[in-house]
Amino acid sequence: MIKQDIVIAGFGGQGILSAGKVLANAGMLEDKYVSWLPSYGPEMRGGTANCHVVISEEPVASPIINDATTLIVMNGPSLEKFEDMVVEGGLIIIDSSLVETEVKRKDVEVFRIPASKMADDMGNVTYANIILLGKLIAKTGIISKDSFEESLKKVLPAKKHYMIPEEVEALKMGMSL
């Protein structure tokens, strides 16, 4: 059974919540069971933002993730806060342009990707989250690139659809790392 419990965390404004939405939507397009749960506490205001995304071949029991199979982090505090919730053998994908802290855990697989720098080089730093998702997809196969692209069409408002080709490029970049 394929099941991914993914926690994405960072600062508000980094596209944390929308990355989760794209992911969940793509899972749904593949007829998988999905849920997306944002942190909606006071911490949303200027502080950290995070969301829990479950993608599974069986109905999602709880949308709340206690044990994450993957953690994607885009700031230092989130790594400190959430690294202990990753299961043994799980993944931690880090935007190393923004996070200098080292992962303490020795029993997980860690990928440090300078996503923000790469995205900036592409001309739009907001694609950093997509580059990190690319790594997740390549590593886990939880969704396909095509579903991701299809999902973008659903999640992004029409006026932002012009960004889709670049976002797909960013995804590919992340997948190739």
Partner: protein, 352 residues
């Protein structure tokens, strides 16, 4: 059924209400349910409906009282402290037998309370938070799909019995996104609201909507009529999900989002050879007492898990009626019971 759409729970409530033919929404902003108001503010003008941001929760429920009196389907939504303010209107509307739907996306209390999920308004909803002998039908969905289906049904139940129906969820349900599949057409019961205050058109006696009969004999008679209606509802509108209860070592009872956590616990426990059943009341009132009686002899014990200090716990104890011991595990203040804690509690009860 149409295609699956990924939608936020709160927005699904709004969409479901529209699909149920509700064109009148009155509300006041409060987190974590405000997306319902946002959705209605956007959508109502498209369908020729009414969205009013009221000056208070008190005013909002009284606008619902007015709209329901006039015979239309009306909705208000709020979160715990706002629902406390609505209790006056809830009591009046219950007595005046007005059909309407109220959504409570519960936050932790008492007092102002944080916006994180909680279930601490169970007593208020099912035992009557307002004054007097009245009942509301209280529905507790546990998924976004169920939020949709039960919201549509809430309007039907309300109209069928001339009663208030409350949808009780929490921030998890309101804020989460899940796939939802809307039907092509909703089943909407049609009732003749010949009691409504919509104008006599000079061709009938005038209608009066009131919650008061100053003559005690009439007031008692009206109360008896309400109680008779509540009995009818109790015998025909109970909804419950029973899962894995045959041969269960322990039956856990939970409602709403907590029931989902318990489902994870069931699989965890199975791996350790413990058989855990679940009784999930979907109607908190009327409470599915008979389901508990039906399984009372099966497990070694019952456990209720709630995000409160033990509220549904009391109803479960009454339903089990001393046949088995009923235990409780709860978290408060916006804390969510973890799967591990629930499993540990089960093991402690079963001494394994």
């Amino acid at each position: 059924m149409g295609e699956k759409i990924l939608m936020k729970g709160n927005e699904v409530i709004g969409e479901a209400a529209l699909r149920a033919g509700c064109k009148h929404y009155f509300g006041y902003p409060i987190t974590p349910q405000t997306e319902i108001a946002h959705y209605m503010a956007k959508r109502m003008p498209m369908v020729g409906g009414t969205f009013v941001q009221a000056e208070s929760e008190v005013a909002a429920i009284n606008m619902v009282y007015g709209a329901a009196s006039a015979g239309v389907r009306a909705l208000t939504s709020s979160s715990s402290p706002g629902i406390s303010l609505k209790q006056e209107g809830i009591s009046y509307a219950s007595c005046a037998e007005l059909p309407a739907v109220i959504v409570n996306i519960v936050r932790c209390g008492p007092g102002l309370g944080g916006i994180l999920p909680a279930q601490c308004d169970y007593f208020q909803a099912v035992k009557g938070g307002g004054h007097g002998d009245y009942k509301m039908v209280v529905l507790a969905p546990c998924s976004v799909q169920e939020l949709y289906e039960l919201t549509v049904e809430a309007f039907n139940i309300a109209d069928k019995y001339r009663i208030l129906v409350m949808i009780m969820g929490d921030g998890i349900l309101g804020q989460m996104m899940e796939p939802v599949e809307f039907k092509d057409k909703e089943e909407i019961i049609s009732v003749q609201k010949n009691w409504a205050a919509s104008g006599t058109k000079m061709n009938r006696e005038n209608n009066v909507i009131t919650s008061i009969y100053i003559d005690p004999e009439k007031m008692e008679k009206h109360n008896l009529k309400l109680q008779e209606k509540y009995s009818r509802i109790a015998s025909s509108e109970v909804k419950v999900e029973t899962y894995n209860c045959e041969n269960a070592d322990i039956i856990v009872s939970a409602f709403g989002s907590v029931a989902r956590i318990v489902k994870n616990v069931i699989s965890m426990a199975e791996k350790e050879g413990i058989k855990v059943g679940l009784i999930r009341p979907i109607t908190l009132w009327p409470f599915p007492e008979s389901e508990f009686l039906k399984y009372a002899d099966v497990p070694k014990a019952f456990l209720t898990v709630e995000m409160n200090a033990g509220q549904m716990f009391e109803d479960v104890k009454m339903a089990v009626n001393g046949r088995k011991k009923v235990y409780f595990h709860g978290r408060m203040g916006g804390m969510i019971p973890t799967q591990q804690d629930i499993l540990d509690k089960i093991k402690e009860i079963l001494k394994v």
